[in-house]
């Protein structure tokens, strides 16, 4: 039997031991295959329908609904003993009243506390609030509590603690609720009191806790492995909300062993999956793998009881809310992230955030456009092919037969073959696939032909006003501004430095030249991440410098202008060396005696620059500017990594917006492809314009 999973290290070892036990007891052979976490899901959905997948696989329950929809999981109702597990773990595995798979382990958030600073963890929020002021020293960057504030997964316990609900009775996401407002007000107050840090990333949480500058941290079981050995800590469940009396209930994630319906030995496969979830296997999971078993009986083992991490998470999990395995859940993340960040960054009041999220939710979840008939499109395509053929045929026949005209055609084919093949695979195929894809709508793994509906929705800005960041036109304007500002700065700075570097009197010219090219040599995503850090509200060097000068620190990513400026600064840093190198080369090719002639003619340095240098640089700089503008237009890395579109997606450019439609907004591949096609047309138009300009310049130079 084949078993696919994505465990590594101790978790994998525990699984191997359990599988060996199963083999001993039943004589059935089990083949384990470890597949990296990020590709396992796609492998499963691709392999199982073709009968080449595993009999049993281990996966997180969040995609259960989609697995069920695709028919790659079997119900376990006949063979599962639900009472053997925590009830909410079994709940997490149910779809439409049926249960699928066997729960193995649990993941949820709990409170890590530094035992030196917090001898006893707070049981409720009243105690927490009493502790926080004494633990927080904002001037020393010490905080009572730290967690990834901008991530809804971490905010959920606050929401549920205030009695907020994510879904209405009909299963639709709701954001504009009382619980939402109160939870947002609460964390905003924590942040304003400087009890928690701003703009917190996972890496920041880790470093704060390891430096003992965060007394408490909200995180999951995985965090235990990241804590420095010197830090003594304990784990407790999240405190109870004193105002409502409810527990701050985190999301519960359940890892389960699922059985493929295509398995040739269904009963044995069910037996294996069940075996892995209970008894000796679940004890191994806890003791060897240090995972939190879903099997209640596992906790009777003394070794498991003594492991305080596991028992703490067990308690935390008991109060956890199973993460809904519905498609609707997948649509909640982006609107919630938007609302959370808007509130924490101060752009939006907590009372209005719900409405903001709601608007974004409705904008992102386009109704599926009506199916269109492909016939007219195929007809147009066929017509185009016929017209093309006719055009070719219309050309007068060559005087010489083909073989005589091109006697070396065979050898030429060999030489050009690799390049042609490369172009076909890397350019032509994606191009055709992309254009075709733009005519489809993708939802829950299936495609439907919708014709030009995607384009119509984009161009008509359906669902949002033109002035909203989600609108194509808004993004287009931002993209054009982004390109323009960048190119102007790249050329300006590059030219300025090139002129300085050309100055023969400058000492250490060679050294400067190398240093100035370095930004270009560093991979741009590394640079982007470094700049992102520089712009951090509390820990960034730029604000540190502002404070040193006696200025107010700037919250860079909360306003469009500063966020845009941060992106531009990063990209300028990356972009000027190229222009500098081009300009330096071009400057050196201008004969010195032209300057001397101009000097004698009476031109000042400035006139010489304007009337000689600039016009003579034009032919060399223009192609570089055109190239640079296209690169910048599509400079995904900087936007995605530095501002990430903040605030509220307003600094996103067309490519990053296309990416979000494809990978962060319900997998709307067709819509994203339509975006890409529009980007293509914009750049096509731009290249025709530039071609004309270049030609004019060539004429200018005679």
């Amino acid at each position: 039997m084949k078993l696919w999973h994505s465990y590594r290290g101790a978790e994998e070892e525990a699984l191997e031991k359990s599988a060996a036990l199963f083999e001993q007891q039943t004589g059935e052979k089990v083949d384990l295959l470890a597949i990296p976490n990020d590709v396992l899901g796609d492998k499963l959905t691709a392999a199982i329908p073709h009968g080449v997948g595993p009999d049993v696989f281990i996966f997180n329950h969040e995609r259960l609904r989609s697995f069920q929809h695709l028919g790659i999981v079997t119900a376990s109702d006949g063979s599962i003993d639900k009472s053997a597990y925590f009830a909410n773990a079994v709940d997490a595995l149910s779809v439409d009243g049926k249960t699928y798979g066997y729960p193995l382990s649990l993941k949820c958030l709990a409170l890590y506390f530094n035992t030196r600073l917090v001898p006893r963890p707070p049981a409720d929020t009243t105690e927490l609030e009493r502790l926080l002021p004494g633990l927080s020293r904002p001037d020393e960057n010490r905080f009572g509590l730290a967690y990834e504030t901008g991530n809804f997964y971490f905010h959920a316990p606050f929401l549920f603690g205030f009695g907020g609900d994510l879904f209405d009775a009909g299963g639709r996401a709701t954001f504009d609720t009382k619980g939402m407002v109160r939870s947002l007000e609460y964390v905003k107050r924590l942040q304003d009191s400087r009890f928690i840090p701003m703009e917190t990333s996972g890496a920041l949480v880790k470093s704060l806790f390891n430096d003992e500058r965060a007394a408490m941290v909200v995180s999951g079981p995985w965090f235990a492995g990241e804590i420095a050995p010197s830090v003594k800590y304990g784990v407790a469940q999240l405190p109870r909300n004193s105002e409502t009396g409810r527990p701050m209930s985190p999301f519960l994630g359940v890892e389960a062993a699922f059985v493929s319906p295509r398995s040739a030995q269904l009963p044995q496969a069910q037996a294996l999956a069940r075996f892995l979830s209970v008894g000796a296997a679940s004890r191994l999971r806890a003791v060897t793998g240090r995972q939190v078993p879903a099997n209640a009986a596992a906790y009777e083992d003394s070794a498991v009881q003594e492991d305080s991490l596991i028992s703490s998470f067990r308690q935390a999990a008991a109060n956890a809310t199973p993460m809904p395995n519905t498609l609707e859940m997948a649509r909640v993340w982006e609107p919630m992230k938007l609302a959370l960040r808007a509130v924490l960054q101060g752009g939006v009041a907590p009372a209005e955030a719900g409405a903001l999220a709601d608007r974004r939710y409705r904008a992102l979840h386009r109704e599926r456009p009506p199916d269109a008939s492909p016939v007219p499109y195929l007809a147009v395509g066929a017509l185009a092919l016929v017209a093309g053929g006719a055009y070719l045929a219309r050309k007068p026949r060559a005087l010489l037969p083909f073989r005589r005209r091109y006697p070396d055609v065979a050898r030429a084919a060999v030489y050009t073959g690799p390049a042609v093949a490369g172009l076909l695979v890397l350019v032509a195929v994606p191009f055709v696939v992309g254009i075709s894809l733009s005519l489809f709508h993708h939802e829950a793994g299936s495609y439907s032909f919708v014709g030009l509906a995607n384009f119509a929705d984009i161009l008509a800005s359906r669902g949002y006003r033109i002035s909203e960041p989600l609108s194509f036109y808004f993004t287009l304007v931002v993209t054009v501004a982004w390109t323009l500002v960048n190119v102007v700065l790249h050329v300006g700075l590059g030219l300025f430095l090139a002129i300085l570097l050309k100055e023969p009197l400058l000492k250490l010219r060679g050294v400067f030249r190398v240093l100035l090219i370095v930004p270009w040599a560093v991979p741009n995503y590394i640079t982007a991440l470094m700049w992102k850090g520089l712009f951090h509200r509390q820990f960034g060097a730029i604000n540190g410098f502002l404070v040193l000068l006696g200025l107010e620190p700037v919250s860079w990513f909360t306003r469009f202008s500063t966020s845009f400026a941060a992106n531009v600064a990063t990209n300028t840093w990356l972009g000027f060396p190229f222009m500098m190198v081009v300009a330096l080369g071009a400057l050196q090719s201008i004969p010195q005696d032209l300057y001397e002639a101009a000097e004698v003619d009476g031109a000042s340095k400035w006139v010489q620059f304007r009337r000689i240098t600039l016009p003579l640089l034009r032919p060399a700089l223009l192609p570089a500017v055109i190239l640079g503008s296209v690169w910048t237009f599509n400079m995904f890395n900087i936007i995605y990594l530095v501002s990430g579109g903040e605030p509220g997606g307003s600094t996103d450019i067309l490519v990053s917006e296309a990416y979000r439609w494809a990978f962060q907004r319900n997998e709307q591949y067709g819509f994203a492809a339509a975006y890409s096609v529009l980007i293509f047309f914009v750049l096509l138009g731009w290249s025709t314009v530039t071609k004309r300009v270049t030609r004019a310049t060539d004429e200018l130079m005679g």
């Binding site: 004969p591 000689i612 016009p615």
Partner: protein
């Protein structure tokens, strides 16, 4: 042609001008006075520092020591644009992105001259230099001679105090060079502006100059009217540099009434200071040595140059290589052993090291004629 204008005051005076590049002295103390309206040609072999001297005058290089005045005003520390000079570069240095008209107008527009006057001046220069049909072309679309004329036009339109030319004709073919030489001479007559013209070509120097300044290794050798320099060269360098083929130099020793060299002897010429010597250097221009069957010098013909009316034979003689003239009628062939004789009173005499002239030819003839 429009009437000649009153030229601006533009006497140029160089006093002890020095220039070094790093540790290399290139211009080693030049004293020179260029009079108002003069066409001074600075001539010397390549690399002797002519361009450097010109650039010092233009202000494109800084003067290390000495003083430079233009029109009575010390200009050592003025930038080029305040010296009111125009320079024509050896490479022409036309602005490649501007039409001929824009090239010509560039310097005028910078001086905020009214448009109408610019147009008038450009038109005038264009007609003077036969550029009228080319005004809208880019330099790329011009021939070498046309580019050269544009470069001159760019200087002319400005009506500067002083023109500086740096080998302006060296990139042209021979026929064009002869034609442009004529035009330059005409231009100078017309403009009557002071001009300093650098060349390595002695023919240009001889034909164009009011005065020639012979320059070598950073030192001014001699300044004077072209023919004066030709007739009365002050030292061996000047004597050898002007005239083509170059003057023959023969080492001699004064022995009584004759000057004895290797394998020949000449009578001591009139006017040779008696206290100089005995080792001396004799110079004889090829034009003053005639090939024939008799004469004090004997040699083997190594090469023959027939120029039509006459020609030159290049001989190897015991005293060294000698060039001599022969008439059309004379039969001279390579390998012949011939004798040459100097015409009467043709001897230049120098100190043995060539640093000073002791006697010039034909002076006694001239004296006789005068008396």
């Amino acid at each position: 042609m429009p009437p000649a204008r009153e030229p601006p005051v533009s006497e140029v005076v160089l006093t002890g001008i020095q220039k070094s590049f790093g540790a290399n002295p290139i211009v080693k103390g030049v004293d020179l006075r260029v009079a108002q309206g003069e066409f001074l040609v600075l001539v010397g072999p390549s690399g002797c520092g002519k361009t450097t001297l010109l650039r010092l005058i233009a202000g494109l290089e800084t003067i290390d020591a000495g003083e430079l005045t233009i029109g009575g005003r010390r200009v050592n520390d003025l930038p080029p644009r305040e010296r009111d000079v125009a320079m024509v570069f050896q490479s022409y240095a036309l602005y490649p992105h501007m039409s001929v008209r824009e090239n010509l107008a560039f310097g005028l527009a910078l001086r905020k001259m009214p448009k109408a006057e610019i147009d008038a001046r450009v038109a005038e220069a264009a007609s003077l230099l036969e550029l009228s049909g080319l005004l809208e072309r880019k330099p790329k679309a011009l021939s070498g001679g046309q580019r050269q004329r544009v470069a001159m036009g760019r200087a002319i339109v400005r009506r500067p105090k002083l023109f500086l030319f740096d080998e302006p004709l060296s990139n042209l073919d021979t026929a064009l060079r002869v034609q442009m030489r004529g035009e330059l001479a005409r231009l100078h007559r017309k403009l009557a502006t002071t001009m300093i013209y650098v060349t390595h070509d002695q023919v240009e120097a001889m034909t164009l100059a009011t005065r020639v300044a012979v320059f070598n290794a950073g030192v001014l050798q001699q300044v004077g009217a072209p023919l004066a320099l030709y007739d009365r060269p002050g030292n061996r360098f000047v004597a050898g540099f002007l005239g083509s083929p170059a003057m023959n130099f023969l080492d001699v020793r004064r022995e009584g009434a004759s000057l004895a060299g290797k394998g020949f002897a000449l009578a001591v010429p009139d006017g040779l200071p008696p206290n100089e010597g005995p080792e001396l250097l004799v110079g004889l221009r090829p034009q003053d040595l005639v090939v024939g069957s008799a004469g004090p010098l004997q040699g083997q013909v190594e090469a023959v140059e027939r120029l039509g009316f006459d020609g030159y034979a290049y001989l190897s003689s015991p005293a060294g290589p000698v060039a001599a003239r022969f008439d059309k009628g004379t039969n001279v062939a390579v390998g012949d052993s011939v004798r040459v004789s100097p015409v009467r009173d043709a001897v230049h005499a120098f100190t043995a090291d060539g640093s000073r002239a002791l006697r010039h030819p034909f002076e006694s003839v001239a004296r006789e004629a005068a008396s």
